[in-house]
Amino acid sequence: MYAHNNPEIDYFKIACANALMVKKNLQVPVTLVTDEGTLEWGKKALGEEFVNQCFEKIVLTKRIWSFENKRTYSDTSASQKTLQFYNCNHWEAFELSPYDETLFIDADYLIMSSALNNCWGSENNIMINHKIFTTGSDKEPYSKYIDDFGIRLYWATVIYFKKTELARFVFDTVKHIQENYGYYKQLYYFSNGMFRNDNAFSIAVHMLNGFTDSNTIIKELPITGLLMSWDTDDVYKVNGINDITVYAEKPIKSTYLLARLKNQDMHVMNKWAINRVSDRLIELYNE
């Protein structure tokens, strides 16, 4: 799991909450990759003992301050802010992971089931998902393709990998794409200027699948898909262990569907929404 805070989003706290959820539901240890500033803040805010309880290992990386990556974050359709999104080091996960088999999980992909335990022992070297589903608006085609004319979008939200040459090749390709992002942006028609790991992994997977959408080399995770709660949604309430209720925005802006989800992992993209319920999550899962 990665956590690099920005002035408003406490990714570290989200990662702590989710690490506890991983331990509860998957019964595996969690390694956190973070930077010194984020860690210091986290320890001050949450206490060193608690932080050490959440993570088996904390890997510190040097934050590259020259990396500029402005992202528009939404806290429902009613509120938007442009903030720094530090995500330039996900390709390092291959080297940094201390495990033979790793599940790379975005801090905001809340683990509320044991579904991902199906990955362990897989014959595949690396798995990443294109398939998603939603509770509200599906936001197609941009949730499925990186552009109308572009390739299939793979979500780098959850990646399973083993320490094999093929997996290393995928991460190396992502690094190469990141280093030459301007070129790939032109070639693959990104509409958005911000660096997205989703785009970089999508290109890498597309290349390794023979420049097709065939899934011949790189397979998808053994789950039905990633459940997406967009940043235009909100979390209404955490009802209990693996039990959450969200306001899912319908295709008509600012109209919502109330959806209660039990035992279902979910990518909650409204970071403020998770921050608002992270104390409750920590309280519930920190038994």
Binding site: F149, L187, Y188, G210, F211, D213
Partner: protein, 285 residues
């Protein structure tokens, strides 16, 4: 059992189908390892055909009986004669404006399991099954099978002969058949796909002509508005919106997608002399 591809090519006032068929034959020779016999059916006398054309085709046959497409704009009136033109026991019919970017020889063993097998699920350049029914109103309204004769396999059997006989009847009396059996969405001109679909429906042999397989037989159909892309962003002439990267090995990408299926480019100007030259080099012509 002989196997091969059959291309019917008659030049119209606007399009040089013989040139397109030549390029297609080159691409078949370049890409198909096992089955690469190609037959040209044409109204051009053998003596008038270019040496290179004669060299690339394994068989060149005249159009049987009289040329029913004389004076016609679309030159499709002879499409019922495939059964009688082909020199092969097992034949795949192809439209001339196609290219083969990769080897599909392995399909033949699968195709041989049926007497006839017609494409009903063509794909976009991204490899998705086409969902648009924009040009298929008659098919939808009249419950016709979704026939695409641009890639159609058949053997010479009694049932297939019966189908072609029915197709002949429809071609020769298409206005009467379309009026009797189709609603007001019926085409105002002879359509090969509609005629074949109607024949299959009238004979009740839908289950003999198609399969549940999505991946084959199939081809990429490059009408712009069939690409599962919002019509706001793509024109009928897809070459205005999507680049082509053609390689010396005869393979090519459309946009960011490597093409692996037979490619029905539809826009005739897409095929350039450079592409033909590259293919000629590959097959030593």
């Amino acid at each position: 059992m002989s196997k091969g591809y059959l291309i019917l090519a008659q030049n119209s006032k606007t399009d040089d189908y013989a040139k397109l068929a030549y390029a297609l034959a080159l691409s078949i020779k370049n890409s198909q390892e096992k089955v690469n016999n190609v037959c040209l059916a044409t109204d051009v006398p053998l003596a008038k055909l270019d040496k290179k054309v004669k060299a690339v085709f394994d068989d060149i046959v005249p159009i049987p009986w009289t040329d029913h497409a004389q004076g016609s704009k679309w030159k499709i009136e002879n499409k019922w004669k495939y059964y009688y033109m082909t020199p092969y026991d097992e034949t795949v019919i192809l439209d001339a404006d196609m290219l083969f970017p990769s080897d599909i020889s392995y399909w033949w063993d699968i195709l041989a399991q049926q007497e006839i097998w017609i494409t009903d699920k063509p794909q976009t350049f991204k490899g998705e099954i086409i969902t648009s029914t924009k040009y298929r109103n008659t098919f939808v309204a009249n419950g016709l099978p979704n026939v695409y004769t641009a890639f159609m396999y058949f053997k010479k059997t009694e049932m297939v002969a019966e189908l072609f006989k029915m197709v002949q009847l429809i071609f020769e009396n298409w206005e009467r058949f379309f009026y009797n059996y189709l609603d007001e969405t019926r085409p105002k001109h002879l359509s090969g796909d509609v005629a074949y679909a109607l024949a299959i429906k009238l004979l009740g042999i839908e289950s003999e002509c198609f399969s549940n397989l999505d991946s084959m037989p199939s081809f990429v159909h490059m009408k712009g508005h069939l690409q599962n892309i919002n019509e706001k962003f793509i024109t009928e002439d897809w070459t205005q919106n999507i680049p082509t990267y053609f390689r010396e090995d005869g393979g090519f990408k459309i946009g960011n997608y490597e093409q692996v299926l037979p490619f029905h480019y539809h826009i005739k100007e897409w095929l350039t002399d450079d592409m033909i030259s590259m293919l000629e080099k590959r097959v030593d012509l």
